[in-house]
Every structure is written in structure tokens, then in C-alpha cells.
């Protein structure tokens, strides 16, 4: 598993995808920092992190699109899935590599928190809550992206479908306001993954939201395994 993890992590920086992801992420983070904090003289991190999570909707597909799709296209999956290694180990190694690059991007935003702290007091509990929220939400989005990548051998298709699914889940949050049916509202509430993140930015530490994100992450992980082990010896 360690070999796959190292190879996957280094491939982000042998190709441009890692640099593109981190570069664009940092630039957008800087932009949101400027408009949410510097221009209005605010030391609140809530709006900054709220904007960040919608950014992930566009950027996570870049991170995950080649995860399994490229292996299928290059036929390197015939090496991977004939190694003396379970498909679960291979999947976890790839997920951890994606999480690591994602974490690098999130950690780079600490520089803005430090700058805000010079402008005024930073609410540490809200800040910590926002970081926890964005990490758990990010891992869910990444696992979804890796699952979609496992369904196709075209990176572009994987990226577009991941973006479309995340965008649909984002829009669903607003649709709920216009529905009066309890059953439909319940379903929408179950899939409104962006709305649960809002509690973190409102300084509400909601353990049920963390459980929700971890449950979804695990579900997408299991779907990935199902997709990959179909018709294989594992």
C-alpha cells in the first residue's frame, strides 16, 4: 500500500495536476481572503470558509479525475489488480494520496488566518471548527470523485461528472426551501451535503454532521470497491 501511495502522491507532481490544483486553490483562497476580510476589514473566517467549500466543487474533480480512469486508459490497471494486494488497499492508498494533496492546499490557508490575526482577534473555536468541517467535507467530495473515476476510463468524463454531481448536490440545498412534501424534504435533507457544512462556519460544532460526512465517505469508498472488484478475483 505504501508503494502505491508514494507513486500516486509523486504522480501529482510529475504531471501538472498537483501544481494546478494547489496553485488555483491558493489563488482562489487569496481572492476570497481579500474580498471577505481585507476589503471589508473583517476578522471573521465564516464567509471565507463558506466560499472555500464551494471552490472545492470545481477543484476536487481536478484532483480525482485521473485516479482510476487513467489507470484503465493506460492499461496499468492490469498491473495493479494482479499485484498481491487487495483492491481495498489500492483504493485506500489512492484516497490517502488525494487527501494529502487536498490537506496541503488547506494548510496553505493558514497564512491568511495568521494575517487576519494581525488585523484583529480570530475566533479560534470557529476557525478550528471550519477547518474540521472543510477537511471532512473535502474527504467526502474526494471519495465521491475517486468513485466516479473508477467508473470510466476517460479523465475528462470523470471530472465533468464529478463536478455535475457536486453541483447538483449544491443546488439541492436551495430546492428544499420550495418543497412542502415531508418525504421529499427528508430525501433532500439526506443528500444536502453542503448545508451540513454551514453549521461549522456558524461556530456550531455538530458531531452528527461529522458522522454524516464519514458515513458518506465510507459509502462512496464501498461503491468504489464494488465498481473495481466487479468480475475480478479479490
Amino acid at each position: 500500500m505504501k508503494a502505491i501511495f508514494k507513486r500516486e502522491l509523486s504522480s501529482y507532481f510529475h504531471s501538472l495536476s498537483g501544481y494546478i490544483y494547489l496553485g488555483v486553490f491558493f489563488l482562489l483562497s487569496a481572492y476570497y481572503f481579500v474580498i471577505s476580510n481585507l476589503m471589508v476589514g473583517s476578522n471573521s473566517v465564516a464567509e471565507y470558509f463558506q466560499n472555500m467549500v464551494t471552490t472545492l466543487m470545481f477543484l476536487i474533480p481536478i484532483l480525482t479525475m485521473k485516479s482510476f480512469a487513467e489507470e484503465k486508459k493506460q492499461k496499468t490497471d492490469q498491473l495493479l489488480f494482479t499485484l498481491p494486494m487487495r483492491t481495498s488497499s489500492i483504493t485506500i492508498a489512492k484516497l490517502l494520496a488525494s487527501y494529502m494533496v487536498f490537506a496541503m492546499g488547506i494548510m496553505s490557508t493558514l497564512v491568511f488566518i495568521i494575517i487576519i490575526s494581525f488585523l484583529g482577534n480570530v475566533d479560534m473555536y470557529t476557525t478550528i471548527g471550519c477547518y474540521i468541517g472543510i477537511f471532512v467535507a473535502g474527504t467526502t467530495f474526494i471519495t465521491l470523485g475517486v468513485f466516479i473515476s473508477s467508473l470510466t476510463e476517460n479523465q475528462t468524463t470523470a471530472a465533468i461528472v464529478t463536478y455535475a454531481v457536486l453541483f447538483a448536490l449544491y443546488l439541492v440545498t436551495y430546492v428544499a426551501d420550495y418543497i412542502n412534501n415531508d418525504f421529499l424534504t427528508g430525501i433532500i435533507d439526506a443528500i444536502a451535503i453542503f448545508s451540513r457544512y454551514t453549521n461549522f462556519t456558524n461556530a456550531i460544532f455538530d458531531p452528527s454532521a461529522i458522522i454524516y460526512y464519514f458515513t458518506l465517505t465510507f459509502a462512496f469508498y464501498e461503491f468504489t470497491l464494488l465498481s473495481l472488484t466487479k468480475d475480478k478475483v479479490d
Binding site: R7, K75, D77, L79, T82, P84, D231, K232, V233, D234
Partner: protein, 306 residues
């Protein structure tokens, strides 16, 4: 060594591999031959665990693919039809990665990787990016990764496909060097290569195993004719049928070209000397006469057109 027992693979309403069974003894090189779409790659994918068989079993040295999948996978090295290479890696790093991913002993990695590179003659390009390698080097790198850890069984799926003649010779020399030291399952369309390298051959067509044995056994069992090629001058073209009929009514004459004829008789009848003697005695102007040696190509054509 390798035992494939009644392996079957079905997709919806189509059976692509149908109760295929064969064994390869330790230290033998077995050729796996069949036309395109015969089921060779599917069978090899089942042997490697990349595909699940619908029924049947595969085992290597008694290790069953389904009950001991991880131990089973450690016992073979595999070169698929398209070498599984990462273009963004350098050669040495790629081999180190495959070595580690195969969970082989870390302290022997350097020695094993160096040996695999020496064996496939790619050591001088070990710092080169894979995407910058020629097709021949990529194929040899694919073989090198299959040799890592000196597995009991090496599976090569069409290792010379798409290579130029010089590269084919290089790869073939590597395969010949494997003889006796390794057990190899090799699939190829190039029957001359199979004949040169393999101890035994398995023929597959339409998902069915249609013949198996050594080259000599296959020829004796499947080719039931002696054939003689005759080339005559223009003036003697019309004499050939008459001469053949004179020797024996069992000789069948087939015109191959304007001046070239193929005369065939049943394997038990060795009529070559009589035919040549009669041609000379009747003053047929012969430019060429030889007995056509039966080859694997002939066996292949005979079996797949049945």
C-alpha cells in the same frame, strides 16, 4: 506447476472461454496460440486473476487462485498485451515501485532490480523517462517488471507484437534465455517464434482448446498428408497431372501458381521417390522438386479451418 482446470468464462449469452483445461510442467515454456478473438487474452486474464472465471479453477504449485489469492499472485510475473507502464516515471523508479508493490524483500531490491535490467538489457536507460523510450525498450521494461522477484511462473501476452524485426530478435533471445530456469506461458501469433521457443503448445479457437502437445506431436496428429512441391517449365505444365496419376490414383494435384504444383498423398504413403523418378523418366522439365516440411502454421490452418 500451472494447472488450468475446466475454466469457463461467460458474458450474458456468449461463452468466450469454454471448459479450457491444460497444465504446464515446471521449467517448461508453453505456447498459447489462437486467432484473434479466440479467447487467449481472456484465458490469461483469468489465470492472472484480472478476470473472474465463471467456473473452473486455476492453481500454481497447488495454490488456488480463489482460496489463496494473495499467495497465488505472488507466484507469477505478468506482462499483459500492453505493457503496464507509467509514462511519467523513470525506468529504475518504475521497477522499484513494482518490486515494492509486489511486497518482495526490501533488502534484495537493488540486486533484483539490477538483475532484471541486465537480463532485459535496459540498464543503460535506467534513468530515462518511460515516455521517451522506444516501443522495443518499453516491451523489455514490461518484461523486466514481470521477472522481478524471480517468480515461479512468468506469463507473457504477445511480447513481440508491434516490434520491428531487430527488436523481435532481442525479445526472442530473452525468452530463449528463460528456458529451463523458469516456467513460462507465452501467447503469440508468430508461430515460428512459438516453435523456436516453446516446449509445448496449446491451440485455442472460439474459446475451445482444440489441440495441445509438443510441435512434433501436433504435426503427427493433425497433418495427415505428405506434400511435394513441383516447379516445371512452361512446356511441361500439362504433363504433371498425367505423371501423378501414373504413380498413384491417391495423389492429389493442386495448382499453386502458373508453373508450380502441390502434390499430396496420405501420410502413410511415401510416394515422393516414385513421383520424382516418374517425372524424370517421362522427361518432365523440372526446375524444382522438394518435400514440403509440415510446420506449425500448417497445423494452425488445419485446426482453425476445421
Amino acid at each position: 506447476m500451472l494447472k488450468v482446470d475446466k475454466v469457463t468464462k461467460c458474458y450474458k449469452d456468449k461463452t468466450v472461454v469454454d471448459h479450457v483445461s491444460f497444465e504446464i510442467k515446471k521449467g517448461h515454456i508453453c505456447g498459447f496460440v489462437g486467432p484473434n478473438g479466440a479467447g487467449k487474452s481472456t484465458t490469461m486474464n483469468i489465470i492472472t486473476g484480472y478476470l473472474q472465471a465463471t467456473s473452473g479453477t486455476v492453481s500454481i504449485d497447488g495454490l488456488d487462485i480463489n482460496s489463496q489469492p494473495m499467495k497465488y499472485r505472488k507466484s507469477f510475473g505478468y506482462l499483459p498485451e500492453f505493457p503496464p507502464l507509467y509514462p511519467d516515471m523513470i525506468v529504475e523508479d518504475y521497477l522499484n515501485f513494482v518490486y515494492d508493490a509486489r511486497r518482495l524483500a526490501a533488502k534484495e531490491r537493488r540486486v533484483q532490480v539490477d538483475e532484471a535490467m541486465e537480463m532485459t538489457e535496459i540498464a543503460h536507460v535506467k534513468r530515462r523517462l518511460i515516455k521517451n523510450l522506444s516501443k522495443g525498450y518499453k516491451q523489455r521494461l514490461g518484461m523486466a517488471q514481470a521477472f522481478l522477484g524471480k517468480p515461479s511462473l512468468i506469463i507473457l501476452d504477445e511480447p513481440t507484437i508491434g516490434l520491428d524485426p531487430f527488436q523481435i530478435v532481442q525479445v526472442r533471445n530473452i525468452m530463449i534465455s528463460l528456458k529451463k530456469k523458469h516456467t513460462v506461458l507465452l501467447s503469440s501469433h508468430i508461430l515460428s517464434e512459438i516453435a523456436e521457443v516453446c516446449d509445448e503448445i496449446v491451440f485455442i479457437n472460439n474459446g475451445n482448446l482444440i489441440a495441445a502437445g509438443t510441435e512434433k506431436e501436433l504435426i503427427e496428429k493433425n497433418l495427415k498428408e505428405n506434400k511435394y512441391m513441383i516447379k516445371v517449365s512452361n512446356e511441361s505444365i500439362n504433363m504433371v497431372h498425367g505423371v501423378a496419376a501414373k504413380v498413384s490414383k491417391d495423389i492429389r494435384v493442386k495448382k499453386i501458381d502458373a508453373n508450380v504444383f502441390e502434390c499430396s498423398c496420405n501420410a502413410g504413403q511415401d510416394l515422393g521417390k516414385q513421383l520424382l523418378g516418374t517425372l524424370i523418366a517421362d522427361h518432365v522439365q523440372l526446375t524444382e522438386f522438394y518435400e514440403k516440411t509440415n510446420s506449425l502454421e500448417d497445423v494452425f490452418l488445419e485446426l482453425v479451418t476445421k
